[in-house]
């Protein structure tokens, strides 16, 4: 089956660009990264399996490319901390989730809080909840174990809960 690349490009660009924007943080950088992802997809078109949705395939390429860029920005290494230490810290935290209502009311604040997270929490959270990537996919992209991904997501969400917890005045 022949792929209509132009049509697929137009329909999946938004999602790819959105991912690049969330991961890299700048419009120009995101445009460039999205373009690179599509160029790579174009070149590798003969290796594309039409059974898989096209958008998911390009998003995978874009995900890897963005992580490469971030890694290069950090001089070749992204640090995700020690799994055991992170786990110990996670288990000692209180377990209240963020009120879903709070998140839906304050979408902008939530995005800002995510953007302000340390990279080791920010990347897994974006990949899991924007990209809809599975734990296995995140683990592969970041070069971590599946459990480590779970720990980082948990820690990231705990940090978000702290930032987003209604202040004394608000809860009154």
């Amino acid at each position: 089956m022949k792929v209509d690349f132009e049509a697929e490009y137009r329909s999946s660009y938004g999602r790819v660009f959105g991912l690049c924007l969330r991961l890299l943080g700048g419009t120009v950088l995101a445009e460039d990264a999205a373009q690179v992802a599509f160029v790579r997809a174009y070149r590798a078109l003969d290796r594309y399996d039409p059974a898989q949705p096209f958008a998911a395939w390009v998003v995978g390429i874009a995900r890897n490319h963005c992580i490469d860029l971030l890694r290069r920005r950090r001089h070749g290494e992204l640090r995700f901390g020690d799994e055991a230490a992170e786990l110990a810290a996670a288990e000692s935290e209180s377990t209240e989730g963020i009120d879903a209502l709070v998140i839906s009311e304050r979408g902008g604040r939530v995005r800002a809080a995510i953007a302000a997270l340390p990279e080791k929490y920010r990347l897994p959270i974006l990949l899991a909840y924007y990209d809809d990537a599975s734990y296995d996919e995140i683990a592969e992209a970041l070069g971590l174990s599946r459990n480590h991904v779970g720990v980082l997501l948990l820690r990231g969400k705990q940090a978000l809960r702290k930032t987003l917890a209604p202040s004394e005045e608000e809860s009154r």
Binding site: V36, N64, R73, I98, G107, R146, L154
Partner: protein
């Protein structure tokens, strides 16, 4: 009752728990309202996060997809650009005008201060290829350059062959470095002095490091001596590499000498091969005897004694009283040839400020011709005030625009070269620097063998095209970024190219810093081109992890 861990509950909420663990936790939830409620809250939290992060694809304007360049398109592009550049050069030759500095950008053989110097050095090597100096430099630098090139190729070609390439590099390094002795002896005194007394003979290569290093004895291998003060009085059978605040070389050396120091004094009665020296003040006394060539540079350089072949000297002020078996080439503001200087070949004085800054004393003898080349920059001090300057600047701009337009039209992927801030600038800068320096040297090396001449010629042509087009690539990058920031809609690439070229023309013509900017632009642009060509030829990343 033991509750599941927070991690297990969170992973269950994300449907990420292994099947058998999930069953276990689910069973617990059936009997524990607290944990069940917590998982429900976590699920809601995840969904809410997804909703908060969701990006409305409709809000993005989809830019036109730029198809990647094929190798064929790049070759066509390069040929087109070379033809354009060649036709401009021919036209210039036909109308027989001398090219002012302002259009030096247009001419790939004359691309700004530092590049210019490199090209000059290259052409110097080519023109004196038969001479000892050239072959000695080639011999000394060849190994290093080949190694650098192999390392560079290895890093460019990627992980798969990096290992074997490294081995090849190391093998090359050994093959190119004939070892004169088996072992290395290291003498190291952090703050004190290292002294090799006159009656001591070191039967190995000696590495001596200390505040003061004094070598009075003999060394049968190579000598590497580094310190604040270095004095070498003994005899060295191999090569001498030395550096420090003050270096005095008195002994006899069978090999070459590489020396760098604030004050460098050489009065060796014999240097069997070449002397490469640099420093603030360089003084080669009349007792010294260098059997092959001498290459020295410094703020104040005084040369005497005997040199078997050629001398290449650079510096603010140069005084030569040596007997020179070959030619004397200098790059300095002032050059004085003092008696009893005797130069068997030509004397070529480059870059002097005024004609009378080259002085030949009555007792000095020149066997060949005296050729003086004035420093053009000084002659054109007020170039900004001439209509000539602006006229040629326009010609340059038009030529670069035509060449750039042709390039970007044939290879549209270059309209948007990926570039992510300082890291990429450094990365492409380092690639560009290697390409800039290594390519012409490799090409010259290749030209030495008959089979290599076509390869060398093609490499030189590609290099020239690359050096010229480097600015186009950077101009397009700058132009598109500037327009991205100020323009409301996406502009045609011709507009961003023109904007970028205008900015670059202005920046590179700034007094004092213009030359440096031009050089940086060339290096970064060349690196971007190298990386781009590499990506086109070797890019197979999409299969990884997809």
């Amino acid at each position: 009752m033991t509750h599941p861990t927070e991690l297990a509950l969170a992973m269950l909420a994300d449907d990420a728990l292994e099947a058998h663990d999930a069953v276990e936790v689910e069973q617990h939830l059936a009997g524990c309202d607290r944990c069940a409620a917590h998982v429900a809250a976590l699920r809601e939290e995840s969904q809410a996060l997804e909703a908060a992060l969701a990006y409305d694809p409709a809000s993005v304007s989809v830019p036109e997809f730029v198809k990647p360049a094929s190798v064929r398109a790049m070759v066509t592009g390069s040929v087109v650009v070379l033809l354009i550049a060649a036709s401009f050069s021919t036209a210039r030759g036909l109308i027989d005008v001398s090219v002012p500095d302002a259009v030096k950008w247009f001419n790939p053989f004359n691309a700004g201060g530092a590049v210019n110097l490199l090209v000059r050095a290259g052409t110097f090597l080519l023109s004196d290829r038969g001479s000892q100096l050239a072959s000695s430099i080639v011999e000394t630098l060849g190994g290093i350059v080949i190694m650098l090139l192999l390392l560079w190729t290895a890093s460019v070609l990627g992980r798969r062959i990096r290992g074997p390439m490294m081995m090849a590099c190391i093998a090359c390094a050994f093959a190119l470095q004939p070892s004169r002795s088996e072992a290395v002896e290291i003498r190291h005194e952090h703050e004190g002095s290292v002294l090799i007394p006159a009656d001591e003979t070191i039967d190995d290569t000696l590495i001596a490091l200390g505040d003061t290093v004094e070598v009075n004895g003999n060394v049968s291998g190579d000598l590497i001596a580094l310190g604040r003060r270095v004095i070498i009085r003994g005899n060295v059978a191999g090569l001498v590499i030395t550096g420090g605040e003050s270096v005095t070389l008195d002994g006899s050396v069978d090999g070459s000498v590489l020396a760098g120091a604030e004050t460098l004094n050489v009065s060796s009665r014999r240097i069997g091969r070449n002397l490469f020296g640099g420093g603030e003040s360089v003084n080669v006394t009349d007792t010294s005897n260098i059997e092959q060539n001498m290459l020295v540079g410094g703020e104040k350089v005084t040369l005497a004694g005997h040199v078997g072949h050629d001398v290449l000297g650079g510096g603010e002020e140069l005084e030569v009283a040596s007997t020179i078996g070959g030619a004397l080439t200098t790059y300095s503001k002032r050059m004085t040839l003092l008696a009893p200087a005797h130069v068997a070949g030509d004397v070529h004085a480059h870059g002097v400020e005024k004609k009378d800054h080259v002085v030949v004393s009555p007792g000095a003898v020149i066997g060949g011709q005296l050729i003086t080349e004035l420093d053009k920059m000084d002659l054109e001090k007020n170039r900004y005030l001439t209509a000539h300057f602006y006229g040629w600047e326009l010609v340059w701009l038009a030529a670069a625009f035509v060449a750039g337009f042709a390039l970007l039209w044939v290879v549209p992927a270059l309209q948007r070269v990926p570039f992510d801030g300082v890291g990429d600038a450094l990365r492409s800068g380092s690639y560009g620097m290697v390409a800039l320096v290594a390519t012409p040297i490799i090409a010259v090396l290749a030209c030495i063998t008959v089979i290599g001449i076509p390869v060398g010629a093609i490499a030189l042509m590609a290099w020239c095209a690359g050096v010229y087009l480097a600015k186009v690539v950077v101009a397009q990058l700058i132009g598109s970024r500037v327009l991205d920031a100020v323009a409301e809609r996406e502009e045609h690439f011709a507009v961003s190219l023109l904007v970028g070229l205008l900015i670059l023309t202005f920046a590179t013509n700034l007094p004092f810093v213009g030359g440096v900017i031009g050089f940086i632009v060339t290096v970064v642009g060349l690196g971007l081109l190298v990386l781009f060509v590499h990506d086109v030829i070797f890019d197979d990343e999409p299969i990884e992890g997809v």
